[in-house]
Subunit: 378 residues, 2 copies
Amino acid sequence: MNILCEVAQSLQVLVTYLICRTYFEVKTAKMERKQEVLVVGMGAIGTMAAYAIQSGGQAKVTAVLRSNYEIVQEFGFTIDSIDHGKDIRGWRPSTILRSIPDCRDGSKQYDYIVVSTKNTPDVAPSLIDLIEPVIKPEVTTIVLMQNGLNIEKPFRQRFPQNTILSGVHLMGASETSSGTIVHNEPDICKIGPFDNSDTNVLQERDVHITRAKRFVEIYNACGKVNCQFDENVQFTRWHKLVYNSSYNSISAILGMDVTRMRVYEHVIDDLVKPIMEEIMAIAGAAGVRLPEDLPMKFITIDSPDSWFMPSMGQDAIKGNYLEFENIVGEPMREAQKLAVPCPTLTTVYGLLRGMQAKIKESKGLLEPRVEDANKYRG
Amino acid sequence: MNILCEVAQSLQVLVTYLICRTYFEVKTAKMERKQEVLVVGMGAIGTMAAYAIQSGGQAKVTAVLRSNYEIVQEFGFTIDSIDHGKDIRGWRPSTILRSIPDCRDGSKQYDYIVVSTKNTPDVAPSLIDLIEPVIKPEVTTIVLMQNGLNIEKPFRQRFPQNTILSGVHLMGASETSSGTIVHNEPDICKIGPFDNSDTNVLQERDVHITRAKRFVEIYNACGKVNCQFDENVQFTRWHKLVYNSSYNSISAILGMDVTRMRVYEHVIDDLVKPIMEEIMAIAGAAGVRLPEDLPMKFITIDSPDSWFMPSMGQDAIKGNYLEFENIVGEPMREAQKLAVPCPTLTTVYGLLRGMQAKIKESKGLLEPRVEDANKYRG
């Protein structure tokens, strides 16, 4: 009986030891092997994503800064955040760089690259060319935190062996001056693998899902944000397009905030609502069933007090490039493929393209010549 | 034989005398009874019309000046004209007024009132109210030298006993500074009575035609311009709309000149040409057959060297009200009546209406209130 008791006790000790060891091994592994995350595009959204990821402690963030490099190098970021605290001063990612690093010699490897730049595929140089030296085949997961449709297609073509994740943010944040971020609507973020069923590599989908869930874990580790695994990336993207294709485009063309559009009801009736309904119809034809009341919900979603100017409107006013190809151009091209009429979207696309030509001209990327005007032959 | 000869000679003298008397009577009548012409709207086109009319000697011109009253009162107009001469200084109409006169006491009567203001029926006060005190029923002929469709309708409703003429100019002229006119494309003007067959007063049409022809005579008397009697006013107006609805609107929305639109071919292909084709289709459905090659003719009509900015584009840049209701709104409404699709025109109309709201706001005519944004219920 004593012997039996001793054996039982020994077994209990052993089991307890094994459980504890496994627990600590996992814990230690996580602590020791922090994920390496490179963030390209440290505007308001990119910076808040970098902040959440780094403060969670499961990853080290390297950030590529451009216009705000000097100021962040010297003073760090100044952040007023509804999620993380009101008066954050001097915050810096683990490493800051002036340009995208070249990892082709193998000395450095990133587990994730977060791309949160503005998405302007019509403006050279191509972001895909710029990030190519970072991407290790099969290893680096590319997280596209950008708006719009079909943004993953050129990446999948160039990096067929890498996982590409969709990141869609619903947060409100803006860089009020260089290195200063005001983050005033909570960070709700949806991360999931892009649908790649068309590439006949469904067996890889599990890998993509695991990597997406791991990223969600890293992002949520700070305990202050709401990052969700996204099972249906296409739904999320079409859903957000209903707002972006309409309010963003019209704000850019008219230089008008959302409150004014609602005060001047005809702007909603003539323009915003028709575009929303066209996007709903295109999504439907593409097999994405959005809730029928979505247009009305989005029309009145912003608080009128905020006189909110959508980001594309802000860019237009500042003379910055407009992010319209994936927000307006791609849904329009989907509509053409699916034979869905989208007359308002089509005209708005033509106007945004004309505005972009003027912006390119102002930045020296285009120079109109009289001789070229004579070439027009219809 | 002698007696017969004398009778014949006397008859010859008598006939000659009668012919001469008739000729001089007519001539004298014309010289003595100069027509009284009031010009309302002394921008570039109004001033050049006033100049042609007055210099022909068959009419006295009274002009209503607003922003340029002081400078013209002191120095007269400075005109550089392709038709009338390069260095005209100190020219003044017979009479200049600060405001539209009140003729209701019968002390003064105008044979013609030329309306050459910008046509913005959506901006109060209404021009029709302003000119009412000038209009003597059955006597005063109203000449509408303005662009667009259906411009005569509110005038015909208010002044059913008066002749209303259409005046369409093809001249190029601009007021480069207050009181200074550069007139660089020849004055070709078409004058004719508006079609009033719908009012069942066809018996009056002869009167309207006579008055139109008399006005053409007055306008042409200077011998320097090409004013034509217009038998088909609707054709002329739809014809000009093909250019105005397209190039003018797009220049206003994009702030882009015609040369750049042709250099950036997509602006023509995506916007200008579709609108032109929509106007052609609406005109066709309205029974006006325009030449099929008109869009291509108009697309390339301006010399690229001129980097020509259409008037609505100029107004948009200056923050002036946009003349879009009769140039874009009316053809769109005709299309709706006739069930002709015009998606590009419709979207462009919505955008111009939004722009006009902003312009009204900038001039204090509208003030957006947060409470009104909350009212939007779809």
